[in-house]
């Protein structure tokens, strides 16, 4: 058992971060208990308080991501929702789309469905075993009908930080748009949509941004028209049976997840007060410790870039001759450590890494972990590996 019962042994922050900063809990509760009210639906004081809350969150997300205007930030349920919105709202009959093997099912499945319906065709850019997409292959795949290039900012399987800026340059040289899936990177890496050169960026609130599940969003560069794939009540232009065309209402229909947005606002406020450099430095030190420790355990193979600075803190590995699921079960049963196994919803990424179809075990520390907690996990793994191998 851990030396201290307060050890945080939750190592699945790449799926959902936990714990959250205290104000995240209180903001969601405060909205539910005291504020109430539907944003945009009335002009009474509770509705206006909800309106102001959503407005503040929109401004905060906008400045955090470096967007030109808060009106270009649309709130969604998560990154999957935002990616569906962008993919289904942009692509038209005959469009060609380029993606990489590192994409999550939140990209592969909406594209697969448009492809099966005969609407689009796609090219998948292969990646190295470390997860780097082949940029020459990307360059050579662009055609006159290519409308969109999609890439993740960082791999949820291997942690690899993708060369997004280079991909943006290649896409823009061919008048294509770049859609970035920032599900893993938002709140872990310091970046700015303008500097990266992205046209659309999908993010979720429940991972690095430290907000509640069910919160997230899509950034759409000014001038890009995404058709709404969800239409309905907005509280504005109610006399028409046509959804409003102005952003952000254009892409927001139905009453929002206000407690989620209130929590997300506080999650980002926390990141801003700590400073993204500090957040990244601490997570990088945890990742370095984890990688160094794993390297010393006989029988363990680590996947993804070997230099910690080239990756996020999530680390995928396998123990020779053992099923990842079996290892994860042993870690929780014997030591209370929570990890994630399998394909992590990214089957092609595992093909690139050479770990398909069995997958890997993934440990993803978060900002609130301490070094001694990582050391404890390493001790437990070392002990388990010794026991299982002998």
């Amino acid at each position: 058992m851990p030396p201290d019962k307060n050890y945080n042994l939750y190592f699945d922050n790449a799926a959902t971060s936990w714990p959250k900063p205290e104000p995240v809990y209180t903001a969601a509760e405060k909205y539910l208990r005291s504020t109430g009210g539907s944003p945009g639906r009335s002009s009474h004081s509770r509705a206006l308080r909800a309106d102001r809350l959503v407005y503040e969150a929109r401004e905060r997300v906008s400045s955090f991501l470096g967007a030109e205007n808060p009106g270009q930030i649309v709130f969604t349920l998560n990154a999957t929702d935002a990616l569906n919105m962008a993919i289904k709202g942009l692509l038209q009959q005959g469009d060609h789309v380029i993606l990489t093997t590192m994409e999550h099912n939140s990209v592969l499945r909406p594209l697969g469905s448009l492809k099966r319906k005969g609407i689009i065709n796609t090219t998948v850019v292969p990646a190295s075993t470390d997860g780097y997409p082949d940029l020459d292959y990307l360059q050579n795949s662009l055609t006159s009908t290519t409308r969109l290039v999609i890439c993740s900012h960082a791999s949820n399987v291997l942690g690899t930080i993708m060369p997004v800026k280079s991909m943006a340059e290649i896409a823009h040289r061919h008048n294509c748009l770049l859609l970035v899936d920032a599900a893993q990177s938002a709140g872990c890496l310091h970046f700015n949509v303008k500097e990266l050169g992205v046209d659309l960026l999908a993010f979720t609130g429940h991972k690095g941004l430290l907000g509640p599940p069910g919160s997230g969003g899509l950034y759409v560069r000014e001038g890009i028209k995404v058709d709404p794939w969800r239409e309905g009540g907005t509280g504005s232009q109610s006399e028409k049976d046509e959804h409003p065309s102005e952003m952000p209402e254009r892409l927001e229909a139905g009453t929002m997840n206000v407690p989620g947005i209130a929590g997300l606002n506080e999650g980002i406020k926390f990141l801003q007060s700590e400073g993204m450099e500090q957040i990244r430095a601490h997570e990088l030190s945890l990742a370095t410790r984890l990688l160094d420790g794993l390297n010393k355990i006989p029988g363990i193979t680590i996947y993804g870039p070997s230099r910690p600075e080239d990756r996020l803190a999530n680390v995928s590995f396998n123990l020779k001759n053992f099923d990842a699921g079996e290892l994860a079960f042993a870690l929780e049963e014997n030591f209370g450590i929570q990890s994630r196994t399998g394909l992590h919803c990214a089957p092609l990424a595992h093909k690139s890494a050479g770990t398909f179809p069995h997958g890997t075990i993934r440990l993803s520390p978060g900002y609130f972990h301490r070094e001694e907690e990582v050391d404890y996990v390493l001790e437990c793994l070392e002990q388990t590996a010794r026991h299982l191998v002998n």
Partner: protein, 90 residues
Amino acid sequence: MEYTYFTFPTTYYALKAEKVVLEQKGEGHAKMVPVPRKISSSCGTALRCCSNEKDIIEELLNTHQVSIEGIYRLEEEKINLKNLLRIRKG
């Protein structure tokens, strides 16, 4: 008291208008109110100010890229909307 109402294409701009006036002028210069039913507006919430501050607030909103849909002046009592006069179309 004579009031001027600013209406907006979306709730986002109504909220932005409130914030701009609050930040630039301080409290007490404008209020978020339901759009009087004689006015046709995309967004159900309007920004109301005293008519003698209409010009300065309109300029403020334009400077801060707040999209205004319409501006209306209410010439009589607040309750009596008979003489609601549209003075600008956005």
